[in-house]
């Protein structure tokens, strides 16, 4: 609120008084001098001899802060003044100056009004001359500059000056004045007598949100026609937020945060590098900062620009919409200190919802698997295990501990009885639950925020400090974040003001090796600790480290070999043996200078620099599984194992990997703002315009990377490797009996991009009733094609608005408090920085025939027509308030057409490329958005309010020039393969036609079954490839989403709940993979088998005859993607429920506190999903139909104190 009119006051100081009669009326020409000065009125010194009155009052005004209000006519009548005073006070000076004048004066606050001597002056018969003057303030006592005062029934109007004063002459004795200011309730007054009137305007409940910050300007919503949603501080902080992203969910119709990724009004690009994230604008300048990196406590408001009219001013980066974040600034008046502390705790995810087969079922399954595989080798255990390989024989393949037991039996190491008892022993283990109990912890987080705000007439400062510490799910992981934010604004002179700020964030985290984050690294029948609580060790696990796989044949053979290290594994040990430490420092510094050139014209220059630097360090201890594995793998042997020479090509010791990455960017902007209000005849015109220039650079230099082996943390020494050999020709590994190389990542890359833009924007309002807005922007970037650069291809917008409720014919409808009708059309763009317009080559030197030769590979063919992607949006909408603002909201409908989208397009291969990424795709989105809010119940101490937000979006691929002959591509990669005239990211399915003998059958493009049986019942299984055989089952992206927010307040208690819903999309049910041997799903128990011929679940690969086993993969993929497994992905989730208590003001006063509030909150406590079956669509992989851990519940406790 304050923000709003302060920023207006700095450039809207129109203090002229307008009148139609200025040419004819004797009284008409009025001057108002606003001569503010820094000097205090402690003493006035004047020395004039027969000077014109004007000169004298100028001098008085300069020395004091008093303004004179007078009719020019008085100056004509004035007598010359002779005065000589020193350090005199204002009262005395004025009485001396005006002693000899034919008129008198009146002092009101800081203004001096010259007026007729009513007693002595003859009043003209025909004209009544009454002066109406006074001051307009808001409820906090702050003056409102620029308020419009009209004499009712006339065209006489004026505006308040910079200090809120106004002055008006009336020709009637009892005039009625109307005081209007945007965002406030208008008032009608009947001033009696000549005393100054004080007008206090109260804010208009509906219009509270109605001032919008577009980043380039602050404009009242009444004067804008764009689809803009502003989320104010109160709404943002309704709940305790984990991040700013979470705070925005459900607050803006059309902004979907499905699975955490922001999408505004549907997807408008095919490019994954452009993505869907809206442009983030921080305090007016485009920023590389993500929403999650902004401290939600520093945010004053968030404004989301949704349509083309609002975003086109951001040009070629705005097609995804724009999110404008305005940070807090110091408040004028008392210094305020706010302290917040929050404590979060998050449950461990519920493993029961994963529907895993039990330990015993897994042991049975793996036994059946073993028998089935053995039959492939005609019962020869030797042939079977030869396939899996061992030291010196074949390539080594992993097998599970159950297989290892069978191998021991086959090798005669254990008897059949011992085998059975070992297997039964395994049945008592439950690795998953042990893992959850011992390797995971409840996530916790503590957050402390201290903010200080202070301000005076000349400057204001906001300073905050935030400390955030969390312990993520896996033990030994932790992260800490420090955030400091300072913003300071100065009114340097009357004309010059400046704002400076700096935001520094330091992020420090420690994490364990990601391979060990999940319980699936070992089978369910493995264990972490035994009954006595001692850690148990397994001989090896299935983590290959990129050099080769292991099995018990290898580990048994090496068990007693002292030249090699043990492969034994316990996950808790490993979680203690290697950490990645990362430190990120982010700095954003900005400055803004504003200079008032003349009234209504302002020049500003803004600059911002952002730097992000991340240092990463991963140390793996010598004893870690990883390093033991590497050490062994890189051991070669010359001679026999017993007597030969072992060479360790990687030294004993730890490994240190270091990486340092940096990005930086700057933005520089020059802008001119112009505003003017004037009246002509019966009309009132407001005109606001701006024009500017912006330059921007983003830079990502090459990474600094270093890896050291044999690293000793004590001596900090390391041992050099023969990298040339290890990375190119490699070495012969003894345990893995093949040639292995050390991975290398020697390629370096960097990027640097520059953009320049010129833009202009204007809005015109007639009689506060009709708006017309327009904008234009020209963008140029280093990556655009030369032909595009030489052309003038502006992005532009037009909009029109009608404040209908102010129209006379609607003004009488009592229940309609507010109605605005808007329509806009505008074009925004997106830039994909991956392609270029140049002929680009890479220098290679990897020719194996002539290794010394360098040559050029053509990495990109020149695309001289490369240009930005273009999205044109048409938007129509209304904003409304009814029943004395009791119910308010807006409705918007839009049509977005995105063209020139970069897409890989099929070319005639004859031209020399089968595909080329060119601006050749189109997408459209249409949708409707709806929001309604109401404080619908207010009785005594009770208040009930509700908010409902709903958005529907339907998108369509309009043009695509690529065709895949394989239907499977459309099924598995719907984001890359799609048909024209369908919803982008659609699910495709195969037609299921039943199951015979455990073989699922599907229909091909001609409607023929793909599995046929001969007379003996032996099936022939064919693949289905044609794209004609697949059907579209629906969208994978939700087509509608929204929220319902309910608040119940009783005295100082408040209960709030927010329900989120997303829906209209589809998912595939979680089904068994029929192929492959790694099964974990409980459904495997009820599959088709010879003994369970009535099962509804097909047979698994293990149940196939050996000759048909390769076909299991074909049927598995058809089955998984069959039409019978499609279910709705719609869901409603109780996102937050909170209960808070604010200590009453009366009590706080005794403690000298302004606010004390305690909140208890639960996040994600309840879910209703249409698919059922314990599926959480928010974490589920919809297209692949695989379950992931459900969204955990978290509990929060928050305390807020303001001193």
């Amino acid at each position: 609120m304050k923000n709003f009119y302060q920023s207006r006051s700095s450039w809207r100081t129109t203090t002229q008084i307008f009148s139609l009669k200025k040419l004819v009326s004797f009284f008409a020409i009025l001057f108002l001098m606003q001569l503010a000065s820094n000097a205090q009125a402690q003493g006035i010194t004047l020395n004039f001899k027969a000077a014109p009155l004007e000169e004298v009052i100028n001098s008085i005004s300069k020395q004091t802060r008093y303004n004179f209000f007078y009719d020019a006519d008085f100056l004509k009548k004035a007598n010359p003044v002779t005065i000589n005073v020193k350090s005199s006070n204002i009262g005395r000076v004025l009485s001396l100056v005006f002693a000899d004048q034919p008129f008198t004066y009146q002092v009101n606050d800081k203004s001096i009004l010259l007026k007729n001597k009513t007693n002595t002056e003859a009043v003209e018969n025909t004209t009544v001359d009454k002066i109406v003057h006074g001051m307009v303030k808001d409820t906090t006592g702050m003056p409102i500059p620029g308020a419009v005062i009209t004499l009712k029934g006339t065209n006489v109007m004026t505006q308040t000056d910079g200090s809120g004063h106004f002055y008006l002459r009336s020709n009637t004795n009892s005039p009625t004045i109307i005081v209007k200011y945007m965002g406030f309730v208008s008032q009608e007054l009947n001033p009696r007598g000549e005393a100054a009137i004080n007008v206090v305007l109260t804010t208009d409940a509906v219009s509270l949100n109605d001032v919008v910050v577009t980043g380039y300007q602050t404009i009242s919503k009444d004067r804008s026609a764009a689809a803009i949603t502003k989320v104010d501080n109160e709404s943002l902080n309704k709940f305790v937020n984990t991040s700013l992203t979470a705070a925005l969910e459900g607050k803006v119709a059309g902004l979907s945060l499905y699975k955490g990724s922001p999408v505004l009004r549907g997807i408008s690009t095919f490019s994954s590098s452009v993505g869907t994230t809206p442009l983030i604008v921080l305090d007016g300048l485009p920023s590389e900062t993500t929403l999650d990196d902004i401290n939600p406590y520093d945010v004053e408001s968030v404004t989301v620009l949704k349509d083309g009219a609002a975003t086109s001013i951001y040009g070629s980066r705005a097609a995804n919409g724009v999110i404008i974040v305005t940070t807090k600034k110091g408040m004028k008046g008392k210094t305020q200190v706010t302290f917040n502390t929050d404590f979060f705790i998050t449950d461990k995810p519920d493993l029961d919802k994963m529907h895993y087969a039990s330990t015993s079922q897994m042991v049975d399954y793996e036994s059946a698997l073993y028998q089935s595989e053995l039959s492939k080798y005609a019962g020869s255990t030797k042939s079977l295990f030869d396939y899996y390989g061992g030291i010196g024989t074949g390539s080594i393949r992993y097998y599970s501990p159950v297989y290892a037991l069978y191998r021991n039996q086959a090798d005669g190491k254990i008897t059949a009885e011992q085998l059975t008892s070992s297997l039964d022993g395994l049945r008592n283990n439950d690795y998953y639950s042990q893992y959850v109990d011992q390797a995971w912890q409840n996530e916790s987080r503590q957050r402390y925020n201290l903010a200080l705000s202070s301000g005076s007439d000349k400057n204001n400062t906001y300073l905050s400090f935030n400390y955030d510490k969390s312990n993520p799910q896996v033990r030994n992981n932790e992260s800490e974040r420090f955030n400091m934010y300072l913003k300071s604004a100065y009114q340097l002179t009357d004309r010059l003001s400046a704002t400076f700020g700096v935001n520094t964030m330091y992020n420090k985290s420690t994490s364990t090796n990601g391979d060990y984050d999940t319980y699936t690294i070992q089978p369910r029948y493995a264990s972490i600790t035994d009954a006595a609580g001692n850690r148990t060790y397994t001989d090896y696990v299935n983590i290959s480290q990129g050099v080769g796989n292991l099995n018990s044949s290898v580990t048994d053979a090496l068990a007693l070999n002292s030249n090699l290290k043990s492969f034994k594994f316990n996950v808790l040990d490993e979680l203690d043996r290697g950490f990645t430490k990362s430190n990120t420092l982010s700095v954003r510094a900005f400055a803004n200078l504003e200079y008032k050139i003349v009234q209504g014209l302002k020049y500003s220059v803004q600059g911002q620099y952002e730097l992000n630097k991340t240092d990463l360090e991963t140390f793996s201890e010598a004893d870690s599984y990883q390093m033991r594995y590497m050490y062994n793998a890189f051991t070669s042997l010359a001679g026999s194992p017993a007597t030969g020479v072992y060479t360790h090509n990687i030294p004993d010791g730890g490994r240190l990997f270091q990486q340092s990455a940096e990005t930086s960017s700057y933005t520089f902007r020059n802008q001119l703002d112009y505003s003017k209000s004037f009246g002509i005849g019966n009309t009132h015109h407001d005109f606001v315009a701006l024009a500017g220039f912006e330059a921007r650079q983003t830079l990502r230099p090459v990474l600094t990377v270093d890896t050291r082996y044999g690293y000793n943390t004590q001596t900090l020494s390391s041992i050099l490797l023969d990298e040339a050999r290890l990375k190119t020709s490699g070495i012969q590994s003894y345990p893995f009996n093949n040639t292995i190389t050390l991975g290398s990542s020697d390629g370096q890359s960097n990027s640097k991009h520059r953009n320049v833009s010129m833009y202009a924007n204007m809005s015109y309002t007639l009689n506060d009733l009709y708006n017309l807005t327009g904008s234009i922007r020209v963008d140029q970037a280093d990556l655009f094609g030369k032909e595009v650069r030489s052309q003038f291809r502006p992005l532009w917008s037009l909009g029109a608005g009608w404040n209908a409720s102010k129209a006379s014919f609607l003004a009488d409808i009592n229940w309609l408090s507010y109605l605005k009708v808007r329509a806009t059309y505008g074009i925004g763009g997106n830039v994909d920085q991956v392609t270029t317009s140049n002929l680009v080559g890479r220098v290679l030197s990897s020719d194996r025939l002539y290794p010394n030769l360098t040559y050029l590979s053509l990495s990109e063919l020149p695309n001289p027509l490369l240009r930005w992607e273009k999205t044109a949006t048409t938007n129509v909408g209304i904003d409304y308030a009814i029943f004395k603002n009791r119910i308010h909201g807006s409705i918007d409908a839009y049509y977005k057409y995105s063209s020139d989208l970069l897409i890989s397009t099929a070319l005639d291969p004859t031209v020399g490329a089968s595909t080329q990424t060119i601006n050749n795709g189109s997408l459209s989105n249409k949708g409707i958005e709806f929001s309604i809010g109401s404080d619908w119940f207010k009785r005594g101490d009770w208040t009930l309010s509700s908010n409902f937000v709903f958005a529907y979006n339907r998108n369509k691929v309009e043009k695509v020039d690529r065709y895949s002959p394989s239907g499977g591509n459309y099924v598995s990669a719907p984001a890359n393969y799609f048909f024209a005239n369908t919803i982008y990211n659609s699910m495709y399915v195969y037609k299921y036609s039943g199951m015979t003998n455990g073989y699922p059958i599907f229909l091909d493009e001609n409607g023929n079954p793909n599995v046929t049986f001969d007379a003996n019942g032996t099936p022939t299984i064919l693949g289905i490839n044609s794209p004609l055989a697949i059907q579209r089952a629906g969208s994978l992206t939700p087509t509608f989403n929204g929220s319902f927010n309910q608040t119940i307040r009783y005295k100082s208690f408040e209960l709030g709940a927010m329900f989120m819903f997303y829906g209209g999309n589809k998912l595939r049910r979680d089904v068994l993979d029929l192929s492959g041997i790694a099964q974990t799903d409980v459904d495997l128990v009820s599959r088709w088998t010879e003994s369970n011929p009535n099962a509804t679940i097909p047979r698994l690969e293990v149940d196939y005859p050996n000759v048909l086993k390769p076909s299991a993969l074909t049927l598995s993929s058809l089955y998984r993607n069959a039409d019978i497994h499609v279910a709705s992905a719609s869901f409603v989730r109780l996102r937050n429920i909170s209960f808070s208590y604010a200590v009453p003001k009366s009590f706080l006063r005794k403690l000298s506190l302004q606010q004390l509030k305690i909140t208890a909150q639960a996040n994600n406590p309840l879910l209703w999903a249409a698919a059922g079956d314990d599926i959480d669509p928010e974490t589920y992989s919809l297209n692949s139909g695989t379950r992931n851990l459900t969204t955990p519940k978290s509990y929060l406790l928050g305390l807020a104190v303001t001193f």
């Binding site: 960097n750 010129m758 080559g841 053509l858 004859t910 020399g912």
Partner: protein
């Protein structure tokens, strides 16, 4: 007063607009923006240039398939070619042809050089050389395409025989149109003639075409057009620069571990292009020769004895009498698609034979044979031209293995009644569960013309097939 500000603003805008261009002219690092003549020249050099032969690999009497890859298998291009199947509509199976697509990718690279080098910065001499070299490569690619996807050159009908699309400039938006066989040959000859005056004897590296190679290619073009005198002249010009023959006899007599004959040690190599890549012959199981070719080698040919294996392996039927290639690229570098000096000698021998110079022809053959055959190398001069020619043709089969060599020779010689060959294949030889059948490939079979693939036909609806097969859509 306000207008003054507006003018100032406009002035700044103009200034900014001009300095803008400079501000935006960023050159990406880590990669090269190809702008200079030197860089265009470097672009000529392209290692690992592959011309996959899988569209016609088994459409000859030289290569052979394992029976289990044919019997009971769904029909594919290899089986069609191997069993000379004229009934299956090949375009239905050919979704895309990597030979076609790859060749035009290379042509595009040469066209980038030819179209853009003139506007680059740098020495005129470098530009001329880059352009000349690119033209030789472009000629080679067009030659290869026209001899795979169109009817063999026949002076009588070449003006109306459908050829391939000529790509003569860099243009991704081009809408290529098919030219006649005669037009394609004219284009090839023009490129070669324009290039030859500027080429170097010893280019900067082996991936730049040399003068000897350009003459060799010219000889081949004339040979295919049956302009034997011109072919002989060009072959002689090529041999004047390089006529070295690698002595395989001496090599096979080395005792102990034989040295590796890497590419730089094989003086026969004229240009470096491949079927799949420099290391293609490492995968010898893809290159199984027919029992017929194995017999043709006899028992004393070092080219067979050193390079082929007839013992059991999972990819051959030993009982059928086939054999597979064994040396790896770094143990003995053997050009397949690329030309070599012995091919030039064989072309010259053919021209001499056709001209009736039987002695000279046989002398040239023997020049090769003494370095390749262990005993009985020297052939006697036959009494007739036809017999002499048959010696040349047989020697070509033994010396020019794999690649396009035999496929093209069959196409070429089938146009002459004297040398045309009907291939007869009795199959299967080993498998007794299916009836043995005899398959024949007539000299004038349309199978010798590979149809355009679906991706090309789809993108270019005006492109007609060069056979009577039906378009799949």
């Amino acid at each position: 007063m306000k207008s003054k500000y507006i003018y100032t603003l406009l002035f700044f805008m103009v200034i900014l607009n001009t300095s803008c261009k400079k501000y935006l002219d960023l050159k990406p690092t880590g990669k090269i923006t190809i702008e200079k003549a030197d860089e265009f020249y470097q672009l000529v050099s392209l290692p690992n240039r592959a011309y996959p032969i899988n569209n016609f690999q088994y459409l000859s009497d030289d290569q052979y398939m394992k029976e289990s890859d044919v019997v009971g298998r769904p029909v594919n291009m290899n089986i069609i070619n191997f069993l000379f199947d004229e009934k299956t509509n090949r375009p239905q199976l050919l979704t895309s042809s990597s030979l076609y697509n790859q060749s035009y990718v290379y042509i595009n690279r040469w066209n980038i050089i030819i179209s853009l080098v003139d506007d680059s910065e740098g020495d005129q001499a470098v530009k001329t050389l880059a352009k000349a070299e690119a033209k030789v490569n472009r000629a080679f690619d067009h030659f290869l395409l026209v001899n795979t996807y169109a009817k063999h050159y026949d002076a009588a009908t070449a003006n109306t025989d459908g050829g391939i699309c000529i790509m003569d400039k860099y243009d991704l938006e081009a809408q290529p149109a098919k030219s006649s066989v005669a037009e394609v040959y004219a284009f090839i000859e023009k490129d070669l003639d324009e290039a030859i005056p500027f080429l170097q004897d010893k280019p900067a590296n082996p991936y730049h075409p040399s003068l000897a190679y350009a003459y060799a290619l010219k000889a081949k073009v004339h040979l295919f057009k049956k302009e034997f005198a011109k072919a002989a002249a060009a072959a002689k010009q090529s041999l004047a620069i390089n006529n070295k023959i690698y002595d395989l006899v001496a090599y096979s007599k080395l005792t102990g571990t034989r040295p590796n004959i890497t590419v730089d040690l094989n003086p026969e190599v004229l240009n470096l292009v491949y079927m799949t890549g420099y290391n293609e012959l490492n995968f010898g199981y893809n290159f199984v020769i027919s029992p017929e070719l194995r017999t043709l080698f006899g028992t004393t040919d070092a080219r067979f004895n050193l390079f082929f294996d007839t013992t059991n392996a999972s990819w051959i039927d030993v009982a059928a009498g086939s054999a597979w290639w064994t040396p790896k690229y770094n143990t003995f570098f053997y050009p397949t698609v690329g030309m070599k000096t012995t091919e030039v000698i064989l072309m010259l021998a053919e021209c001499e034979a056709r001209a009736g110079n039987r002695e000279e022809a046989v002398r040239l053959l023997n020049e090769i044979r003494v370095k390749k055959v262990l005993t009985g190398a020297t052939l006697a001069v036959p009494a007739t031209v036809k017999e002499t020619m048959n010696l040349v043709i047989a020697e070509r089969r033994r010396e020019l293995l794999f690649g396009f060599n035999r496929f093209w020779d069959l196409r070429r010689l089938n146009t002459e009644p004297d040398y045309a060959k009907t291939i007869v294949r009795v199959f299967p030889l080993v498998n007794k569960t299916v009836p043995q059948e005899t398959y024949t490939l007539k000299p004038n079979s349309f199978l010798y013309i590979i149809p355009f693939a679906q991706d090309v036909l789809k993108a270019n609806p005006s492109l007609t097939l060069n056979t009577d097969e039906t378009r799949p859509f």
